[in-house]
């Protein structure tokens, strides 16, 4: 077991920067999730750790040892491929044994270790099957057992759940997380599904265009996003664009908003839907704590089951989405209703990104 450290890791293809100056210090036993939109360099980063892509610049350290120039087969990383990459001509047990054989584990011990690894993923009873005789979820678990069997220093997962259906994804998420905690193995997972990242990670990294946007715990990223991009990518936000003049934010639609954080010039507010309070009308819009309260008109309603999204039009340019708990019949505002909208002063504020 060992921590992983990436320093100034960059990969350039000609002029194109697939990743640029990635710095990460992953603690021993930590579950780190790389999150970001398609093409932002997540897989590139993961494959550099595994040794399949040689970085243009920077170093990779595992357990204190520099592995930057080591070929993949001399590194101790267990990678679970997105398509699982199980060897079709080998049985499940032989697949799992492969890494042990390559690491010169004595023949007598291999059987026991294979059984242990398969038990970890509850597949002991299918050891003699071939990969094609197994479901997607089972193949995924074989891939996991294969990657773990030779006891690598680091476990790497590239979108391990993307080929599973929604229900199974929920289950496997917890299985992987539990297993990881039980083994205490340093793990880096790549995903573009923010819910996956939120539920599984110790810490997560948001990437964009090859660069790290923010690194932190779920709470840090959700409550205190560092940029408009992070606020839109982790969770949902309504954005209100405007500018600061004289220490006060005024939206382009004309709303004056009190904020704790003050900037200068063009800026953006990010409002989380569940932090927005809806009142029946402007009358009950008391704001003792000095929250911001405005009048608006319900523009649309989306029914999500346990909650309801209410889109409120505050003026011609400013719209926000509020999430209300679905409490049955009486909790329904209807389109066209006059409502009051209240949100706190500690909303995230960013300088407007250059258009």
């Amino acid at each position: 077991m060992a921590g992983v450290e990436l320093q100034g890791l960059s990969k350039h293809y000609g002029d194109f920067q697939a990743t640029e100056d990635v710095n990460l210090d992953i603690a021993d036993g930590e579950f780190l999730v790389l999150l970001g939109p398609s093409g932002c360099g997540k897989t590139t980063t993961l494959r550099m750790i595994a040794g399949f892509i040689e970085p243009t610049k920077g170093t990779i350290t595992v357990g204190g040892a520099d592995v930057t120039r080591l070929p993949p087969w001399k590194r101790s990383t267990g990678l679970v491929f997105q398509n699982y990459a199980l060897f079709p001509h080998l049985t499940v047990a032989q697949n799992v044994a492969f890494g042990l054989e390559m690491h010169k584990v004595p023949k007598a011990e291999i059987g026991g270790k294979v059984a242990t690894a398969l038990d970890l993923v509850q597949l002991g009873h299918l050891a003699d099957r071939y990969p094609r005789q197994m479901s997607g979820g089972q193949q995924q678990r074989v891939a996991l057992a294969r990657a773990l069997a030779f006891q690598p220093d680091v476990l790497l997962l590239d979108e391990p759940l993307s080929n599973l259906d929604a229900k199974l994804r929920h289950e496997v998420r917890h299985q992987i997380r539990n297993l990881q905690q039980r083994l205490g193995i340093t793990t880096v997972m790549v995903t573009h599904d923010q819910e996956e990242a939120l539920t599984m990670a110790d810490r997560m990294v948001v990437m964009k265009d090859g660069r790290i946007q923010q690194l932190g715990t779920q709470r840090e990223l959700y409550d205190d996003p560092a940029s408009e991009f992070v606020a839109s990518f982790v969770g949902r936000s309504s954005f209100i664009k405007g500018r600061f003049s004289g220490g006060r934010f005024v939206s382009h639609g004309g709303l004056a908003v009190e904020t704790e954080r003050r900037l200068a010039g063009e800026a953006v507010l990010a409002l989380r839907p569940e932090r927005i309070h809806l009142g029946a009308d402007a009358a009950d819009a008391a704001s003792p704590d000095g929250s911001n309260t405005y009048r608006g008109k319900v523009a649309s309603i989306s029914y999500l089951g346990s909650s309801i999204d209410v889109e409120v039009k505050l003026n011609e340019t400013d719209r926000v989405i509020a999430q209300v708990v679905n409490k049955g019949r009486e909790s329904g505002a209807s389109v066209g209703d006059e409502v009051s909208v209240t949100f706190p002063r500690d909303v995230p504020v960013f300088a407007a990104s250059p258009a």
Partner: protein
């Protein structure tokens, strides 16, 4: 609509059957002829017998020729594979200057008329024999060399086809688990492209085993291959022995195909 489609399918089936029969017709006649009782083929036959098969199997020239053909075919196939496997890997996995040219060169023997190929090899071997004073011309290895050229295009074609279809993340998975590139190739890639290798070997062998034109130029007296032995027999005699030995040759090739097909589905790789 519906009936249109049915008529379409029916026409297609009928045409396919016709084409198939057309291709099989000579085969059917040769087989029929091999069972004739009389020596001079005429219609209708006076009766049927296995007499000609007995003669064919008892003919020592045919037996010797068969042994030579089999030896040349096997050795040429083995050498052809040793060349074709690395060549296929280079052609499918690396970009280098002259890649297209080499690809065409390796497939060339497939499109060059056999006579031209045989004649060129003949000139080449005569010249090198004179120049080096080594016993190349008319030797077993000279003949094998010519047949290697027949094997290579088939095996390169079939092996590259299966390499193109091979999922390279499997090799990466092997290396991730600690296998060096050579071990990954041996343990994961080779099993994956085995159908292509087997099919390539078989098609190579069959094209060597049935070859007449190239062999004609390269064999020495007393070292004839089976097709040449058949030709020589025909020069002084026409009787159903020829039909019988041809049928036997075809049976051997069909057996090779069936055995291979049990091992890999030929229809999937060709």
């Amino acid at each position: 609509m519906f009936s249109n489609r049915r008529i379409g399918r029916w026409t297609l089936n009928a045409l396919a059957t016709l084409a198939f029969l057309f291709a099989l017709l000579p085969l059917i006649f040769v087989t029929w002829l091999s069972f004739y009782e009389q020596e001079i083929p005429s219609f209708p036959p006076t009766g049927y017998s296995l007499h000609w098969y007995a003669l064919a199997i008892a003919n020592e020239r045919f037996i010797d020729a068969f042994v030579i053909s089999a030896q040349v075919g096997l050795v040429a196939t083995a050498i052809g594979l040793i060349v074709a496997i690395p060549a296929s890997i280079a052609l499918t996995r690396y970009r280098f200057t002259g890649r297209g040219a080499i690809n065409n060169l390796l497939l060339m023997p497939l499109v060059i008329p056999g006579i031209v190929l045989g004649f060129s090899l003949y000139i080449f071997q005569v010249e090198t024999t004179i120049a080096t004073e080594l016993p190349i011309m008319g030797s077993f290895w000279g003949l094998v060399f010519g047949h290697v050229l027949l094997v290579i295009p088939w095996s390169v074609r079939l092996i590259t086809a299966s390499l193109v279809g091979f999922d390279r993340t499997l090799e990466e998975a092997a290396m991730n688990l600690g296998a060096d590139p050579f071990t990954a190739f041996r343990r994961v890639t080779v099993p994956g492209i085995l159908p292509g290798i087997v099919a390539g070997a078989m098609f190579g062998f069959v094209s060597s085993f049935g070859n007449l034109e190239v062999s004609l130029f390269l064999v020495a007296p007393g070292q004839t291959t089976l097709p040449i032995a058949i030709l020589q027999y025909l020069e002084w005699k026409i009787d159903p022995t020829i039909a019988a030995i041809s049928v036997l040759q075809i049976l051997i090739i069909i057996a090779a195909m069936l055995i291979t097909d049990r091992f890999v589905r030929i229809s999937r790789v060709v």
